[in-house]
Amino acid sequence: MGYAIEGSTGTWEVVVGLEVHAQVISNAKLFSGSATAFGAEPNSQVSFVDAAFPGMLPVINRECVRQAVRTGLGLNAHINVVSHFDRKNYFYPDLPSGYQISQYEHPVVGAGVVEVQLADGSTKQIGVTRLHLEQDAGKSLHDQHPTKSFIDLNRAGVALMEIVSEPDIRSPEEAGAYVRKLRSILRYLGTCDGNMEEGSMRADVNVSVRKHGEPYRTRCEIKNVNSVRFVMLAVEAEAQRQIEVWESGGTVQQETRLFDSARGITRPMRSKEDAHDYRYFPDPDLLPLVLDEAWIEELRLALPELPDARQARFMREYGLTAYDAGVLIAEKETAAFFETVAKGRDAKIAANWVTGDFFAALNRTGGSIENPPVSAENLGKLLDLIADNTINGRIAKDVFEAMLGTGKDPASIVDEKGLRQVTDTSAIDAAVAKIVAANQDKVAEYKSGKDKLFGFFVGQTMKAMAGKGNPTLINEALKKALS
């Protein structure tokens, strides 16, 4: 039994499909030679094509097509050798031509599939209906002037991939997992940077509810949701709202809504009724897009290792659990960091350090994996110092803390601070003898069967040695002394 919402009339199932808009990584725009870089001066990256001056003709950017095809291949999808561009007509100030060039009936990429992993350890296949190329619109600023909106066309004409899922998603968790997985695949492929804060990836969320076994009911579309967390919250809020409508005897109207993250609810968009009458027709400026099969094959062979394959390899090569492997591969930079640390070392210990102390330090310092507080090379050297018994695991944590943000080599920290592990058995025996002598009462208790006290002796001895004793040797020495 999966996710369900209890209403007053029984149990409801949630049905979700997602349209994800992903900005294509390219130097120039989809149909013009102007730049795509984020954050430029207003209207400085706009050509006459983007501004829809009369008589300007669009010419497609090969790289954008290549990125769309590679993404399709990464989604295990069918690539359509012939596809077409259409005009989607609507009026808005940030769309100078009055239409968006998009692909309607014949998209460049057809059906594919994305596999997601859920918290209970199960996996689920989410169908991808299609992927098509289209132009982004410009940007409107509504809060700069009391009576005017300001328009910047720098983004107008930048290539987007719209990736449409099947209505296969049945819970907020699955919706979140799907967006995260898609983002991960796009970032592995290098076809979209996946930066949801800057808007280079955003989702339209289609939600409906039904009783189990029913056909689909009317859905609503929640536009422009810009984080994974908001996608999950929007699904839940919208499902709750629809259940209330149905259960109070009403009917859900198909409409476009917005997610209000401050209040945690969805509300209708104030748009005109004809907003959805796009009157698509084939763009007469553009010939069919015809791809060379050999080129597609070449792109397929050159694809990098993708998240699923990397996770399987991490489990196989490094003996990691599915969970640990999943955590490490989610971001390709993290996966690379781990591989540098694990190379030639005990992979499980490396995984524990990366997902444990290292991730904790990242969170604490607010650092990023691209600019980590400890380099992978130095973390690896620290593990070497544990492996060759130069320091013990306890001291390693102190050395790690001392490494944070300093770029220092762990061996030099060990030398500076005199943290080298004591493996000299006579020194250990001496420390043990002192502890035993000072705690005769505890020794008596231990010998009368209070085995748990052994830990106390270890702790005391370690403390007396300033944490630098070799734990194995201390254990051995204590066992001998207490027997």
Partner: protein, 95 residues
């Protein structure tokens, strides 16, 4: 198929074309005769024929991913009825 006056007004409003009341009837007659002509085309049997969206049996040419254009906000904004700095300024649209 024939278009009623309400549909004519709707098409005009979607296209942002102002149509005066007295023009509706003329437009209705004209558009209906165009639709009648298209309906004749619908009589042709095209089963098994690939849809053709253009006259030229050619594929799209592609260009390299090189920045060759843009960088002239003054020219882009030259015809703007209103501006603020290098932004276009339009009557406020709020969603």
């Amino acid at each position: 198929m024939s278009l009623d006056p309400a549909t004519i007004r709707r098409i005009a409003s979607l296209a942002r074309i102002r149509v005066e009341e007295h023009e509706v009837e003329t437009l209705q007659t004209e558009l209906n005769s165009i639709l009648g002509w298209i309906e004749q085309l619908n009589e042709v049997n095209v089963d098994g024929v690939e849809p053709l969206t253009g006259g030229a049996r050619m594929a799209m040419k592609m260009r390299d991913d090189v920045v060759t254009d843009g960088g002239y906000p003054e020219k882009v904004l030259a015809n703007a009825p209103d501006r603020n700095g290098d932004f276009f300024a339009v009557p406020k649209v709020v969603e």
